[in-house]
Each structure stands twice: as structure tokens, then as C-alpha cells.
């Protein structure tokens, strides 16, 4: 691959973090210029090009901003940094792997993949409990255990002991981790909730107390030999407990000091809470408990936690879905040895904005630089346009809302078909194939496609058909379900009440169970389709997948001609997404096959050579160019092969010099065509058995017409011959 080193660089048309740089800003004013200079391109790549998901997190720092609204007494979240709120009142919540909700969603994805269960079989609710205060506390328990263990060892060692310094380093790290919790009140809430629960119920739940206060005691034998549990005397201090206390007292002081250092306005309640949370073994330290106040606090904390978590999830979900999409884009490329690794250029700007006439010249100038040169390092081959609006007409239907229904999704994160058409019109000139998928909703999932087929989607794509750019539009169906809407309830905890004996207990009443609804998490199919196609460009990837077969993969050729629909290719190369449903019915499949429409994923039971395929496979890989002769849409590979051949031809022939064109197609074994023909049996051959590559030169008009036949179906390409050196008229 000495000429074209990559055929899978992808442009993502979406916003990840509006505070970070974006393509339009970086490209800047393009009046009077044709292309961008190399420095500018380097700067763009530095800011926007990502080769892994970690790169995306590092470069874009996906973040949700939170602030407290005193008027509504609630926490507000927003993806865009509010400009009218002072910096010190804003708290950024970084949406990375340590963020609780993302952690929960990733756990769900990984477990489902590992267990290979369908959506219907999988217990989502259980795993989603990760976001409940109890699970947050579990994590903290682990941290505090390590702190105590290390601090105890640290306290025992003498000053100046080098081992003590090592332990100091470890403790610093652990405190850093712990301090994230007592740095902000929101993170303290689950702690406070669990703390009250622990103190009031003594960690209860396992045993019913029947409304009586538990008094810790010892098991002993009475004077007459009877078995007794004696109340432990408060002053009875054992040597071990004293030792513990010494360690604890020291640790408590350290935590107190740390808390005070972080917070200018300290609060005794929070300070004690932090100390109790991270240093709970203060066996001889007793505090009075005011049950009524504590129960009221617990209930209000829990309500506040539920509301703010609910608000947070509503705001973060669209961002998280994008991030999961990007993660899955990169996740498709799994090989033992890395070769042509897919790269993603994130425009970080709304495609609606980019499609405006005022900004299109910037995109054109950028693409002119990446795709209009004989340097193919930065060439953009694919684009991802996610979240196309499912409802395209502004229609108001007047009717009474008799029951509370779904709140119609605001059009914030949904992009229009019109903007897509405008962008495709530009992409066509630079031969960028665009994967687009519809917005995340129940109607676009596997379930819906299995039930209703693809007719609706075909209808919605109609505005993009029969156009010059149709060839470059690839509709991807369906979207992937990470957490289905009907299984997205999370039980946080139950409200507490005070019993007649003035003892706190958890309420059993149904209305007292605190639950929040995530309302489904989905991944746009376009990310996975683009990621998978990008992965298939890499010969190493194909070699891995076809290793067990006799087929040979040429390590010098990209997978541009790799036809996923051919033979058993789809069963050898498949996505990393686990199956979701039991499959499409035969009638739906015959409808898909009859139409040969779109890039369709399948969740089918299949096996190859006795080995079951448990992942989602690619069932159809078509664009929107309609071939009336065969009454079907064209396979995507034809477009990319044509693009690839044109680019190689331009490069090898020195911008289409006539003599060089003739050499290119000659039978000389060194000619490019001969080289390709020699590899026609490879998995990733450019010209395979049954294909042909012909050319004719129209001397009068100075045009070279290429005819690339894919299994007899021809595709024409016209290039202007460069006659500057000869044949001047």
C-alpha cells in the first residue's frame, strides 16, 4: 500500500463537546483560497483526528455542566457551558469511564456480550442498579478498605523509612480518589444516604427488626449454662480496639484536614459524614441519633438524588449515545496485529450548521485539501451522519391528549434530511461515502424492523434517491439497543419511615420505592456500519477473519473490493455487537432481499462450519443508487473501488497523462492492471474473477472513459486526459 496508505479515514458529523475546537472554526476564513496549508491541516488533525476511543476522550473531554438553581432548589445539567453563570458555580462532570452512568451502561454492554443473551433474556435492571447509592457505597468501601490497610502500615513505620515514602505515594493516590467524593455535595449524597441507612438500620435489610432497636452484644453462657447475648458495655475497650482507635484517630485527623483543605466553607455535618464514610471503625466513638431528623434527611436526600440523577441522565444520554457509537466505531477493528487502523475526524459541529451555505465553502476547502491532492494520508473516505430525523414533516395534528404520553423528542439532537442532502451534494464531489442512520427510538430498533420491515425507512430515504449524490448515501438500519426502553427502570432504594417504637425502617409500600427510568439507550447503526467497513479495509483484519479458510489476503491491498454480501463473507467477518433478537422472519428477509436496500444488520441464528455466529452480521450493504436494470440498489463496494481506481490512476499516470494511461492498462506485467489481475483470487483483490477493467480514449474530446465491470455490471468513469506534454491541438 505504498500509494494509498489508508482507505478508511472517517469524518463524524456531530458535536461531542461544544467548548472544544471544531472543524469550521479551525478551517476559518476561506475566501479566495482553494485549499488549506499544511500547518493548518496539522492543527486540524491535532485537535480533531482520533485513532482510538481514548483519543476521543482526551481530545474532546466530553463533559456535562452542572449548577445549582436556587429558585427551583434543584441541580441543573447542560451539555453546553452556560455563559451567564460564574465559573466557580459550575461543576463539570466528565463523561468518562469513571462516571457512574457510563460505567453502568458499559457494564450492561460487556455482560450482554459475554453472556450472549438476547435483549429479551437479559436482566438489565439488575446491572443498572450500579447507579443506586448502595452500589456507589460499595465502591467507596473498597477504597476505604485500602486506605485503612495502607494507613495502618504507614503509621507503624518509622519516619524516614523508604517504605514509608512508598506507602505515602500509594495513600496520596487513594486520597485523590476519595477526595473526588467529598469535593462536591452531589457526590456526597449517596454517601449520606447510605450513612444514614447504616446508622439507623445497622446496615439492615437482611434481617427484619420488627421495629426494635438493635443493641450490639456478646454471645455468652449464663451462670446456669444458658446461652445469652449480653449487651456490650460501652467502656469495655480491648487492646485490639485501642490499637484500631489509634490508627483510626490518626486517619480521621488526616481525612478531616483533607476535607478542610478542599472546602473553604466547611460544614460539621459534611465533615463528620466524610469521616464516618471513610473511617467507619470508630468503635468507641458514639454519637446521638435524632431518628426523626435523620429519617427526614434520608428521604429528602433520596428524593433529591433521584431527581438530580434523573435530570442528569436525561441530559447525558444523548451525549453518551454518541460516545458509545464512537466507542463501537473503534471497537469493530479487532485484530492481532494493527495495520490500517481506522481514524475518525470529529467535526465537533452540528451537521445542520455545516450544511448552511455560509459554512459549506469551509467544508469544501477542507475536503479539497484532504481529497483533492495526490497525498492520500489525510483523505476522507467515509462520513457518519447520525440521528436523522424520523419525522420529517412539520405536521400538527389536533387531538385531545387523553393520557400522558411520550414527550416528543426535541429536535436538538436530531438532524434533518435537508442538511444531509446539502452535505451529500458536496461529498459526492469528493467521493466521500456517507453512512447515515435514523434517530434513536423504538421505531428504528431490531424489534421494530423485525415487526414492520423496512418499508418506512425506504419511504423516508426517498428524498435522497435518484440524485447525483445517491451513490454516496448509505442508509444504515437498524440501530442497536443497549438498554431497551421497557427494561430501563432502576430501583434506587425505598423511603424510610419511623415506626411506633421510634425506630427507623424501610417502607414496603409500592409508592415508596424510589425508581428512575432511563428510557432506553441506543447506538446509531451508522457508527457500527462505518466502523465495520473501515475495519474491513485493513488487510490484517481480513486476514484474521479469513485465516481459517483457504482464501489468501494480500497484505498490500486495501479491502475496497471486499463484498460483505458475497458468499460466506458475512459469517466470517462480522461486527462485535452481540445479537439482540431471535431474527427476522422469512417474509421480512424476502422483503429486504427483494428491495436490496440499505446497509442492513441482521441478528440471525447462523453457523459456519459448525461454529455458531453469536454476533450481529451484515445482511445488506447497499447505497441509494438504484440500478433499474437489476431492480435493486447498488452494492457499496462498487463506489469505493471506482474511487480507488480513479485515485490510483491519477497518481500513477501523473494526473492522467495519456501515455501513462495506456501503460496503466497495458499487458506489461509491471502495469498496474496486470499487478491487480495477478492478485484476483485474494480476499481483498481489486479486480476479482468476473470483473474487468477496460478503457477507451476519445481523442477528439481528450477524454478517457474507464469501464469497470463488476461481475458483468458496468460502472463508467470519465477522466480528462492531461495533454500538456503531447497531442496539443
Amino acid at each position: 500500500m505504498e500509494i494509498i496508505s489508508q482507505t478508511n479515514r472517517t469524518l463524524l458529523l456531530d458535536v461531542i463537546n461544544p467548548q472544544e475546537q471544531d472543524l469550521l472554526t479551525l478551517v476559518g476564513d476561506v475566501r479566495g483560497i482553494d485549499s488549506l496549508d499544511d500547518d493548518k491541516m496539522r492543527e486540524i488533525n491535532q485537535h480533531l483526528e482520533c485513532c482510538s476511543y481514548e483519543d476521543v476522550e482526551r481530545k474532546f473531554q466530553p463533559v456535562v455542566w452542572s449548577f445549582f438553581d436556587a429558585s427551583s432548589q434543584s441541580v441543573k445539567y447542560t451539555l453546553e457551558k452556560p455563559e451567564n453563570i460564574p465559573e466557580n458555580m459550575l461543576t463539570p462532570i466528565h463523561v468518562n469511564e469513571s462516571e457512574n452512568f457510563q460505567k453502568a451502561v458499559l457494564t450492561v454492554m460487556n455482560s450482554r456480550k459475554a453472556q450472549g443473551l438476547l435483549n429479551v433474556e437479559f436482566e438489565f435492571e439488575k446491572l443498572l442498579e450500579i447507579i443506586s447509592p448502595k452500589k456507589v457505597m460499595d465502591d467507596i468501601k473498597q477504597v476505604r478498605k485500602e486506605i485503612q490497610y495502607n494507613y495502618k502500615k504507614y503509621a507503624e513505620l518509622e519516619e524516614g523509612d523508604p517504605q514509608k515514602l512508598d506507602l505515602g505515594d500509594k495513600l496520596n493516590l487513594l486520597f485523590e480518589d476519595a477526595s473526588k467524593n467529598y469535593n462536591n455535595i452531589m457526590a456526597m449524597l449517596p454517601l449520606a444516604i447510605e450513612d444514614i441507612k447504616t446508622r439507623l438500620l445497622l446496615g439492615g435489610g437482611e434481617q427484619q427488626q420488627n421495629g426494635q432497636t438493635i443493641v450490639p452484644g456478646y454471645l455468652s453462657l449464663g451462670e446456669k449454662g444458658e446461652l445469652k447475648v449480653l449487651e456490650a458495655p460501652k467502656t469495655d475497650v480491648t487492646a485490639l480496639a485501642t490499637l484500631d482507635d489509634n490508627v483510626n484517630t490518626g486517619l480521621m485527623e488526616v481525612i478531616k484536614e483533607d476535607y478542610q483543605a478542599f472546602n473553604s466553607e466547611t460544614n460539621d455535618y459534611v465533615q463528620n459524614l466524610v469521616v464516618r464514610t471513610f473511617c467507619p471503625l470508630s468503635s468507641t466513638q458514639q454519637t446521638e441519633i435524632d431518628v426523626d431528623t435523620e429519617v427526614a434527611n434520608y428521604n429528602s436526600y433520596l428524593e433529591f438524588y433521584r431527581t438530580s440523577k434523573d435530570n442528569f441522565i436525561k441530559v447525558v444520554k444523548p451525549l453518551l449515545e454518541k460516545l458509545l457509537g464512537i466507542r463501537m466505531f473503534f471497537d469493530q477493528y479487532k485484530t492481532k496485529t494493527k495495520g490500517m487502523r481506522p481514524a475518525l475526524v470529529i467535526a465537533n459541529v452540528s451537521p445542520e450548521m455545516m450544511a448552511k451555505s455560509s459554512y459549506l465553502p469551509r467544508l469544501i476547502t477542507y475536503l479539497n485539501t484532504t481529497n483533492g491532492k495526490n497525498n492520500f494520508k489525510d483523505t476522507i473516505w467515509y462520513a457518519i451522519y447520525p440521528n436523522v430525523s424520523w419525522n420529517q414533516n412539520v405536521t400538527t395534528r389536533i387531538q385531545r391528549e387523553r393520557f400522558k404520553g411520550n414527550v416528543k423528542k426535541a429536535s436538538m439532537d436530531v438532524y434533518s434530511m435537508d442538511a444531509l442532502a446539502n452535505l451529500l451534494d458536496v461529498f459526492k464531489d469528493y467521493r466521500v461515502e456517507t453512512f447515515f442512520s435514523f434517530e434513536n427510538r423504538e421505531e428504528t430498533t431490531f424489534n421494530a424492523i423485525a415487526a414492520e420491515g423496512i418499508d418506512k425507512a425506504v419511504e423516508k430515504c426517498a428524498p435522497l434517491m435518484g440524485k447525483a449524490f445517491s451513490e454516496f448515501a448509505i442508509p444504515v438500519l437498524p440501530n442497536f439497543t443497549v438498554i431497551p426502553k421497557n427494561k430501563s427502570g432502576v430501583v434506587l432504594d425505598s423511603r424510610m419511615k419511623v415506626s411506633e417504637n421510634n425506630v427507623a425502617e424501610l417502607s414496603d409500600a409500592k409508592e415508596d420505592i424510589m425508581r428512575l427510568w432511563i428510557e432506553g439507550v441506543y447506538i446509531n447503526g451508522a457508527y457500527v456500519a462505518a466502523g465495520f467497513r473501515a475495519a474491513c479495509q485493513c488487510p490484517e483484519f481480513l486476514k484474521d477473519r479469513f485465516g481459517k479458510t483457504k482464501a489468501v489476503t494480500d497484505m498490500e491491498l486495501p479491502g475496497v473490493r471486499f463484498d460483505i454480501e458475497a458468499g460466506n463473507n458475512a459469517l466470517l467477518a462480522y461486527t462485535t455487537m452481540p445479537k439482540e433478537i431471535t431474527g427476522f422472519t422469512n417474509s421480512i428477509k424476502s422483503q429486504i432481499n427483494q428491495k436490496n436496500f440499505g446497509w442492513i444488520f441482521a441478528s440471525e441464528n447462523a453457523s459456519l462450519n459448525g461454529e455458531a455466529v453469536t454476533n450481529i452480521t451484515v445482511y445488506k450493504a447497499r447505497n441509494l443508487l438504484y440500478d433499474a436494470e437489476h431492480s435493486s440498489y447498488e452494492p457499496v463496494y462498487k463506489t469505493q473501488v471506482t474511487t480507488y481506481i480513479e485515485r490510483i490512476l491519477r497518481y500513477v499516470t501523473g494526473d492522467f497523462k495519456e501515455d501513462n494511461i495506456k501503460n496503466f492498462f497495458s499487458n506489461n506485467p509491471q502495469s498496474q492492471k496486470s499487478k491487480w489481475l495477478a492478485k484476483k483470487d485474494c480476499v481483498n483483490a481489486i479486480i476479482t474473477e468476473g470483473d474487468s477493467l477496460e478503457y477507451t480514449i476519445d481523442e477528439a474530446n481528450g477524454v478517457c472513459e474507464l469501464t469497470i465491470s463488476f461481475n458483468g455490471s458496468p460502472r463508467n468513469l470519465e477522466v480528462l486526459i492531461n495533454r500538456l506534454t503531447s497531442n496539443m491541438p
Partner: protein, 595 residues
């Protein structure tokens, strides 16, 4: 233009030059702080006594409240009172966007009990009396005389009624009475007297079906509401479809009100607007569009067979008046004893959206030739609107302030204006005291200019032999080559601020001899915006599939970091990208010549 017969020829030319120069000078305009009117207030007073049950069994009166309140422009504040033996429902004044509260209140009303119109009217008048408003109205709907459980109470209520009428007349509240049913047949009825005493209007309808018509008359005749009926449809029970062109682009609100005497269901509307909402009762439906983007409206609905559905459109504009002044100075015909030029201010009035001051209103054909009255410093004028502009002239003898107060009552739409426009007009300049030897100066200036022009021409010719300059006034000569490819046009900035989608113009369809200007290209793409200088940028076909661009305008045209010179021709190869900044220095466009 003036003439001074007794001066020398050269002197006349110079004076003429000076006068012409003064023509385009404009003074800064100061607009007075916005003086929004106090608005208008109206109270709907409904008789909810038991007798209404028989006179209005279908509760059409409730629907008629909707018809009234949703038809009123946003500067009306609405209140609502219903009475039987006492006040049964009332709602203090609500703003335009809270009118649904009135309907919520009205729908709870039950027709029951006696009829204490005295208390009802007293309450309604009391509400209005405290209100700060330019106009105050009560619309009363009643089906009979005052009737209480005993004669004493009836008499007391009558007295109350008379007192309320008197109070209304005193504070300028007009009461319009709609009488319903047999009892009200006599137009000399006691209830109707309120209308007469307060300069209001009385309406009588024997059946509830007629309330709609009465409300219509109140709206158009008494309140001066501008509405137009776009369709009256005889429903057959099936789906009816209506499509209409509405000329109300940039209107602040356009309300579409469907009324019928039978239920309207399944209303679907297609249009484009910033936002929209809808309200529906059993026999009416309202669609309220905010800032409709385009003029096409498509409606479909199901009416009840055998009934008529009427569709009315009520447009509403928030308007700010702007003025632009240019002066023409002339030497006085009789200069003896005069110290100043004769100055005339040519004033162009135009109308802009209050919220978006860049959007000019009423430029559509629909508004052409509409008369608008205005007073300039107390002097009344009637001007005609032409392409959104009204022109007038005003002699100026000294520095003066011109206050213009528009009167939009003759406009075919509802207008809420933002008050008077105040402009400072500059007095005329002083006539020159002593006249220098103009002949000599003119002669020297002409010789000097000619010499400078020759030198510059020689320098330019010696430096830039190519490309060949074209005669400035000429369109380029047609070419013998065929056109090929197309132009992809991206309008990156417009004077109006509107975004225009990317455009494509097929060149290959043009005959080879055609020379086409950028203006013609933009027009054929349906662009209505004006691009100053576009008519002087020409294209013609060139050899080797090239396109020849000739710029005879003052636009700045850039290609490959180079500014293309004026009145020169340049070859554009395929894929060439060119940026144009038009003569207004605001509008910009980028085009690409593609295969």
C-alpha cells in the same frame, strides 16, 4: 432644477455640481424611544342563567367566546365574567398568550339560576374602569331581561345595571350587546339600552347559531379587526383539503380560525413557521403560527356533513417605522437677499419588524398601493405603499425636528406599531458669499485631470499588457465555444441575514453564444435577494472547457488569493473556486465551476 441666468456659464456648472453633491447627504436619524400604546381591553360578559339552557342547548355561546378571544390581536387584554343569580365565573385580564385560561374558565360554566345582569355588568365595568387602556369594550351576551327571585331584587339589579351603564359611559367604555332568543326580539329592550348609552352596538339573533355572525360583526365593525376569509366549505363528512397562499411573510402571528356550527375533527395543517400552537373546541379550531416562514398553508379536516366550515385568517404585525432622508439643495430662483439654498428633504418611510430590525415588511405585491395615513408634525398626509416604501418630500428652511405618527387603520392586516418616529432634519447650507474665478479654476482642473488620466493609463498599459481591458459599458462579446459543466453557488452572507440553501446552475444547457450575468444566474435559481453589482459580473464559455469571467462591477472577486481586476476577463478552469464580495460590502458568495 434651478437656473441662474445672470451668472457665467462655468459658475453655473460648478453650482450645479455642488447642488448634486448635496443630494445624497443624509442626516443621522434619531428615533424616539419606543412609545408602545397602552393596549386595548375587552371583557366578555356572559349570561349563564337557567334560561340559556333552552336558548343555547348546544352551548354555542362558549364557542363564540373562543371565536372572539382568539381573533383579537395580541395588544388586547381579555377579561371574562359570567353571571346568573350572582357572579359565577370571572377571570381578570390575561395577556395574549394566556387566553386559553379564559376558555378553561368558560367551559366550567353551567346554565342555572336567575339572571342578575346588574351585578354582572357592574363587575365587568369595574374591571375595565381600573384598567389603563386606549380602548375599552364589554361584549355582553344575554337571552333576556333581568329576573331575580322577587321583584325587589329585580328592581335593585335594574338600578345597578343602569348605574353601571352610566359609569361605563363616563369612563369611555363601549358596551356591545348580543341578544339571544325570543325575549330579546324587542330591540328597545332594557338590556340593549346599555349599547345605546355607551355608543356600542346591539345585535339580535333568534337562535344560538347566529351568535357566530354577531361576534363577527363586533370584531370587524366595532373593533376594527382585520381578518380575511380564505374558504367556506360545505362539509360532506369526509376529509376536506384546503390549500392557500398567505401573503403574510414576516408577520408576528398569523391565526387561522376554523368555525362551524358542528364539530370539526382530525385537523391537520402543513406550513412552515418558527413555532405554532393549536386550540380546539367542539366547533372551532385555531392554529396560531408565529413568524410563518413561507406563504403556503395546507389544511385538511373532517367537518360534519351538511354544515359549513368557515376558515378565517387573522394576521398580526409588530411594526417599527423607519425613515431615510436625502436632501436636494438648489440655488434660490430669486437669489437677491437670500442667504441659504432652497432645501428639500426627500423622505422614504419603510416598515420593519420590531424584533428583527433587519426584516423589512410589506414588500410583497399584496401590499402595493395600500394607503397609509400619517401625520408629520401634525399635518396629515396619505401616502401609498410601493414595494414596502412610501415616499414624500418636505421643504426644510432650518434645522428642525420632524415627528411622524403613522395610522395603520387602513392596512389590510392588524398592526401593532411601536410609536412615533422622530427625525432631525438639517437646515440648508449657506450660499457662497463671494464667487471665485470659476472659469479659471474649472479650466485648470479639467487640464489637470486629463493629464493625470493619461499618465495613469500609460502606466497601467505599460505594466499589465494582459488581460485586455474591456470597454466599461459593454457586455463581453459572445463566444463561439460551448458551455460545459455547472456552477455550484454558496451564498455565504446576505444583507437580510437569511440563509439561502446551496444552489446549482447548469451551464451546459446554455447556448454557446450566450453571455450571462451573475444576476441572471441568481434569478434563474430563484434567489430574490438583491446582490449589488451582480448584473455586471459576466460569464461566457471559453476554450478547453474553461469559463470566462468578466467583472465590470465594483465587487471584490477573489481566486487563489488573488483579487481579479475590474473590467478584465479571466479564465476559470474546471474545479475553480471563486469568492465574490458584492458592492454593498455585506453580501458574499462563493461559487465553484464543476464538471
Amino acid at each position: 432644477m434651478m437656473k441662474r441666468r445672470h451668472k457665467q456659464g462655468a459658475c453655473q456648472i460648478l453650482c450645479l455640481l455642488a447642488a448634486l453633491l448635496a443630494v445624497s447627504v443624509c442626516t443621522p436619524i434619531r428615533v424616539k424611544a419606543r412609545e408602545l400604546s397602552e393596549g386595548k381591553s375587552i371583557v366578555f360578559l356572559l349570561d349563564a342563567s337557567g334560561s340559556m339552557k333552552s336558548n343555547d342547548p348546544q352551548r354555542l355561546a362558549i364557542d363564540s367566546i373562543a371565536q372572539l378571544i382568539y381573533s383579537l390581536p395580541s395588544d388586547y387584554q381579555m377579561g371574562f365574567v359570567a353571571y346568573n343569580s350572582e357572579i359565577t365565573a370571572n377571570l381578570d385580564f390575561v395577556l395574549s398568550d394566556q387566553r386559553n385560561q379564559i376558555m378553561e374558565e368558560a367551559e366550567t360554566i353551567e346554565y342555572i339560576g336567575y339572571s342578575d345582569a346588574g351585578t354582572g355588568l357592574e363587575y365587568a365595568v369595574g374591571m375595565l374602569a381600573d384598567q389603563q387602556a386606549d380602548e375599552k369594550h364589554v361584549v355582553m351576551l344575554s337571552d333576556g331581561e333581568i329576573l331575580m327571585k322577587d321583584d325587589a331584587s329585580t328592581e335593585s339589579s335594574k338600578q345597578q345595571y343602569q348605574q353601571a351603564v352610566q359609569q361605563a359611559a363616563d369612563v369611555g367604555i363601549r358596551i356591545h350587546v348580543i341578544g339571544l332568543g325570543d325575549e330579546m326580539e324587542d330591540m328597545n329592550n332594557f338590556i340593549f339600552s346599555a349599547a345605546e348609552a355607551t355608543n356600542g352596538k346591539s345585535f339580535y339573533t333568534p337562535q344560538a347559531m347566529g351568535i357566530q355572525e354577531a361576534i363577527d360583526s363586533v370584531l370587524t365593525e366595532e373593533l376594527g379587526i382585520k381578518q380575511s376569509t380564505i374558504a367556506i366549505i360545505d362539509a360532506d363528512g369526509g376529509t376536506e383539503t384546503v390549500s392557500a397562499e398567505l401573503p403574510y411573510t414576516h408577520a408576528d402571528k398569523v391565526r387561522v380560525l376554523l368555525t362551524s356550527s358542528a364539530p370539526i375533527t382530525n385537523l391537520t395543517a402543513n406550513f412552515q413557521a418558527d413555532s405554532a400552537k393549536q386550540m380546539n373546541g367542539s366547533r372551532y379550531s385555531l392554529i396560531e403560527m408565529s413568524r410563518p416562514a413561507e406563504s403556503k398553508l395546507e389544511l385538511s379536516f373532517e367537518g360534519t356533513a351538511g354544515n359549513q366550515v368557515r376558515i378565517n385568517v387573522i394576521p398580526e404585525y409588530y411594526v417599527s417605522l423607519k425613515g431615510e432622508v436625502a436632501y436636494t439643495d438648489e440655488l434660490p430662483a430669486e437669489a437677491e437677499g437670500k442667504q441659504y439654498y432652497d432645501r428639500t428633504a426627500e423622505i422614504k418611510y419603510s416598515f420593519y419588524d420590531v424584533e428583527n430590525q433587519d426584516v423589512q415588511l410589506w414588500t410583497q405585491d399584496f401590499f402595493n398601493h395600500t394607503k397609509i395615513k400619517l401625520t408629520e408634525n401634525g399635518q396629515e398626509k396619505e401616502l401609498t405603499l410601493n414595494n414596502g416604501v412610501m415616499e414624500t418630500v418636505c421643504p426644510v428652511t432650518e434645522n428642525m425636528t420632524l415627528e411622524t405618527v403613522p395610522d395603520y387603520s387602513d392596512m389590510p392586516v392588524n398592526v401593532i406599531g411601536d410609536g412615533a418616529l422622530v427625525m432631525e432634519l438639517e437646515g440648508p447650507p449657506v450660499l457662497p458669499a463671494e464667487e471665485p474665478p470659476y472659469g479659471l479654476i474649472a479650466g485648470l482642473a479639467v487640464v489637470g485631470l486629463a493629464a493625470a488620466a493619461i499618465i495613469i493609463a500609460v502606466i497601467i498599459k505599460s505594466r499589465k499588457p494582459k488581460p485586455v481591458p474591456l470597454p466599461p459599458e459593454d457586455r463581453p462579446e459572445p463566444s463561439r465555444y460551448s458551455y460545459t459543466g455547472k456552477l455550484n453557488l454558496y451564498i455565504t452572507r446576505t444583507q437580510s441575514g437569511y440563509d439561502i440553501p446551496p444552489l446549482s446552475f447548469n451551464l451546459f444547457r446554455l447556448p454557446s453564444g450566450r453571455v450571462i450575468s451573475m444576476k441572471e444566474i441568481l434569478e434563474s435559481c430563484g434567489v430574490k435577494e438583491v446582490f449589488a453589482g451582480a448584473d455586471m459580473i459576466y460569464f461566457k464559455s471559453g476554450a478547453n472547457r474553461n469559463l470566462i469571467l468578466t467583472n465590470n462591477s465594483d465587487c471584490t472577486i477573489m481566486k487563489n488569493r488573488e483579487i481579479l481586476m475590474k473590467k478584465k476577463s479571466y479564465q476559470l478552469p474546471l474545479e475553480a473556486k471563486v469568492d465574490i464580495t458584492f458592492e454593498d460590502e455585506i453580501s458574499e458568495l462563493m461559487f465553484q465551476y464543476k464538471d
